[in-house]
Subunit: 582 residues, 2 copies
């Protein structure tokens, strides 16, 4: 292979195949950079070369596919190329065969190519020739392989679950697959193998895993794809601690293997409430402070209407101390922050700038000196600092300050490189209230077990019920999430009721699970990691399309193949479907 030629091969005759990266013609000597998946090596055709071979070499162009034979020689010290692994060597060629010619490619096959992503995706086969993209796919392969080996060693069995599954209305939107044999009925592509892995636990498989494609028909955000890959894991006879221990062990080993990072175990754990109160996020980035601080106590009797109202309505007042930003940020930058929090529904952002001499703040006149002092003490504000305050409903305070915290960190250009801050977020609420559907919905999914001590709250105060759920977060991203599942028919039915499912609907959609639970079900739980996101973290890329060979664009299309596309009328006929005129 081109990139694997070493000094030990000097004098050897080698046969190489690959693509012409470029050709240079220097006064009767032709230099070719030959590329394959392992790298690049320089070929030389000169006066000693067979004449026909020389003529062929002289006519080679970029991206031609060739096979050559030649002798490995050392380069003249002046011509050593430190940018490639074979930079001290070259191959003096005597034979060359053109296996395929090439037109001039529309993108430059080089990591420094700056083509638009739409062009890169249309010519994905050229884009994937780049060393960086090759490397990305290789890392993805290595991650999968490492996880498989790790789980194999831990006694897990990979079991394939179906892709053509039953459509159920709960959760995100599924892709539907019309059935021809059972005209009028539909399969759904799985959003996850959740029900099947639980069924496998009922079947006594004890330790299951699968690296598997899952599907969600949602509008795409930057880091979502309609099809994505999940590392899906489930275990029997376990509690939260067992699942977390095995999985943090796996992830720590993976990061050691791939990045030589030492992850401290056990990983830190934080309750959902703690994460929201301190970081305004259930996937906190713990690589830096800038924590949210509760300053309500300082303002219990305040005359400032905005704060007083928020407190009176049971809301919250929290602050971030942007250390040093009082000096660093201009008034305009601060005004931009005030605008920024509005995206997150905050009605306003109060700020206090502390200098050696004074405090400056638009709300100074509404607060007493004691109140201001109390705020500064509670936020540990020193000269040079900037205290940013939101008073609002609790979730608005969390969301807006959580987002503001990240925005400030970005503006401060903190050096976060080489930091890997893992944590488990636990004790999530089991339920949320969906204002649109006017009912409770499961925060994770409707098979998540409530904490035993909270079960009674399901009748009295459902939003207070905590789930036996846990998410693994890394540097502000959720990389995995799971829970201990309900394994009891009655409790599962109770939860379905709380979710507002009629008995008929529960039975129609999940009857087989309820029935399965009657024949001896072990306590079980599991987790699923997003493989794409895990690989993104390892490769330090924020573009999910960098880690998928053939990704979809935001409108669910593949610019290379032009999928999706029209179907033949005959096929729709067979499926019993009519296309509505648009």
């Amino acid at each position: 292979m081109c990139g694997k030629i070493t000094e030990e091969q000097v004098g050897d005759t080698v046969k190489l195949s690959g693509w012409v990266q470029n050709r240079r013609d220097l006064g009767g000597v032709v230099f070719i950079d030959l590329r394959d998946r392992t790298g690049i090596v320089q070929l030389v055709f000169n006066s000693e070369t067979d004449k026909n071979a020389f003529l062929v070499a002289d006519r080679l162009r970029s991206e031609y596919v060739v096979q050559v034979e030649g002798v490995v020689v050392e380069r003249d010290p002046d011509n050593v190329n430190d940018n490639i692994t074979t930079g001290t060597l070259e191959v003096l060629c005597n034979k060359v065969e053109v296996l395929d010619q090439a037109q001039t490619p529309p993108i430059y096959i080089d990591d420094n190519d700056t083509s638009k992503e739409s062009v890169r995706l249309k010519y994905r086969y050229l884009d994937l020739r780049k060393s960086r993209m090759h490397q990305n796919m290789k890392v993805r392969h290595q991650v999968s392989k490492f996880i498989r080996n790790y789980l194999d060693d831990e006694g897990f069995m990979e079991v394939e679950t179906p892709f053509l599954t039953k459509p159920t209305p709960e959760g995100a939107r599924s892709f539907l697959v019309p059935s021809r044999v059972q005209k009028g009925n539909f399969f759904a592509l799985p959003q996850s193998p959740q029900l099947f892995k639980q069924i496998l636990m009922v079947a006594g498989f004890d330790r299951y895993y699968q690296i598997v494609k899952c599907f969600r028909d949602e509008d795409l955000r930057q880091d979502r794809q309609p099809e994505f890959t999940q590392v899906d894991i489930e275990l029997s006879f376990v509690d939260e601690n067992d699942v977390m221990a095995i999985n943090e062990g796996m992830i720590a080993s993976l990061f050691k293997e791939m990045l030589d990072v030492d992850v401290e175990l056990p990983m830190r754990r934080m309750t959902y409430l703690d994460a929201m109160n301190r970081f305004g996020s259930d996937k906190p980035d713990l690589r830096f402070g800038l924590e949210l601080m509760d300053i309500k106590d300082a303002l219990q009797d305040t005359g400032f209407k905005v704060f007083a109202d928020a407190i009176a309505k049971g809301g919250d007042v929290r602050a971030i101390n942007a250390k040093g930003c009082g000096d660093a940020f201009s008034r305009r930058e601060i005004d931009a922050l005030v605008e920024y929090v509005k995206i997150y529904r905050a009605k306003g952002l109060a700020w206090i700038r502390v200098t050696e001499e004074e405090v400056k703040s638009p709300i100074e006149k509404f607060l007493t000196e004691t109140e201001i002092n109390d705020i500064l003490v509670k936020t540990d504000a020193q000269p040079g600092d900037l205290v940013l305050i939101v008073a609002d409903k609790q979730d608005v305070v969390w969301d807006s300050l959580g987002a503001l915290r990240l925005e400030i960190a970005r503006k401060m250009e903190l050096d976060l490189s080489g930091k890997y801050e893992f944590a488990w977020i636990t004790d999530f609420p089991l339920l949320e209230y969906d204002e649109e559907e006017k009912r409770y919905v499961a925060k994770h999914h409707p098979f998540t077990s409530p904490k035993p001590e909270d079960i009674d709250l399901m009748d009295t105060d459902p939003l207070k019920v905590r789930a036996r759920a846990y998410d693994m977060v890394l540097n502000g991203a959720e990389i995995g999430g799971g829970s201990i599942r309900i394994h009891n028919k009655d409790l599962q039915q109770k939860l379905f009721e709380t979710l507002g499912f009629s008995e008929e609907r529960a039975s129609e959609n999940f009857g087989f699970l309820l029935e399965a639970f009657q024949y001896g079900t072990p306590p079980h739980g599991g987790i699923a990691f997003g493989l794409d996101r895990l690989v993104m973290q390892i490769l330090h890329t924020e573009n999910i399309r960098d880690v998928i060979a053939f990704p979809k664009t935001q409108n669910h299309s593949c610019p290379m193949t032009n999928a999706p596309d029209e179907a033949e009328m005959a096929r729709l006929e067979e499926l019993g479907l009519i296309l509505k005129k648009i």
Copy 2:
């Protein structure tokens, strides 16, 4: 784990979890067979047991899930059970906790269960508790794992290809997935990653593999499922011999690992024509002889109209010598064979029974003595043998005698156990003529390369063109198939023309491949193995549902979950689809 307790643990306290296989109550002593995925161990609760634990144990029933603690002891020699691995041991229990109760299961959790398959599939979670089914899934896991490791070691990279792909009309019927974001358009679930793996070769990936689900919307036969798993492999800069060498090495190692079978390498190779002429099948079972023999020469001038007509029309006359069956088969059995070949369109089956004294045959009177003698010589017929003859069009002779050969082998009850006869079938025809569509269709797929020396025949005699294709067969089943692909735009376009694709259609469906071929494409080829079938061979089962955790029935449904099912009207609305009234 239950099945892993060994004599070395005698005296140790162990904690076990599992299912109650059964409970026996023998005069104040309760014996429980406790089962987990590793096997069974006997628990004992007696007068020394904690009284509460004893009472709980006494009330256990089959399939209850329990957790117990106790001491491993040796069994009384009289009570040793040789049927289980822990048969010399038992666990004297002091603690028992019921983790879940169970109703009486509708099927018996035992390998000897004789429930109907429809019931087994409905209660798949119980069926999968059986030791045999567990073992099947474990073997499947081991096969996947072995293949991955083998290919990893050989420098292959696993790359995931999309499931939501572009619908193309060629080949088998695909499942369609309506797009919501691009209403009116459809994705297709891949029948194989064929185009993507070729694109990966264009992209320089050199050695690709994937173990991946594929989909075909066909009516089911015994060994087909709408979703099945493929071991998909592709290599660049290779010819047929390279692909075959790597893959036969992999399969031989797999059979050594799984079954301790020594597969002789290189595997035997046989052209398609040879396989059809000698065995009447392109997936010949080579574990026994009963070859088809050409007896046309003996009948060139025959007055027997049936034979003479067949020969005159350019047909074929072939015979099988069913060794010893002249004595063994009754007249009624022979008549049944005559009926049997009619399934395969043969108009008749002539037979000659040879005894020490005479030959008996319904066609004796139509043939000369010389003709009969020549037939007996050509088929090496000895007293006791039965010669079976079909005269017809070539493909009818192949099909009917190929099927008859297998039928005779079944009736002879040949002992084929322990025999693994692998072969490569090569030199397949590139094209077949489709009478319905009135055009040529690709025998493998339209990306298969013709043999270079046959390319000119594409214009003059397309059916004579041989493909650079190869199938691996084992004991009468095709377990893998592949080819060297076309890697040249012009040749690919020529083949599309031969297949009757308009330029527009070729470009609409496969334009991206044709375009990709312009930017420097290495010669490449590959193969795909059917994982399900491979595992079936290793497990010696003829039921594909034995090797799939959650299979579909013949009408594409899952009796456990009741998929496919109705979709919500709102979802169809979103997709722009109307369901035709049936």
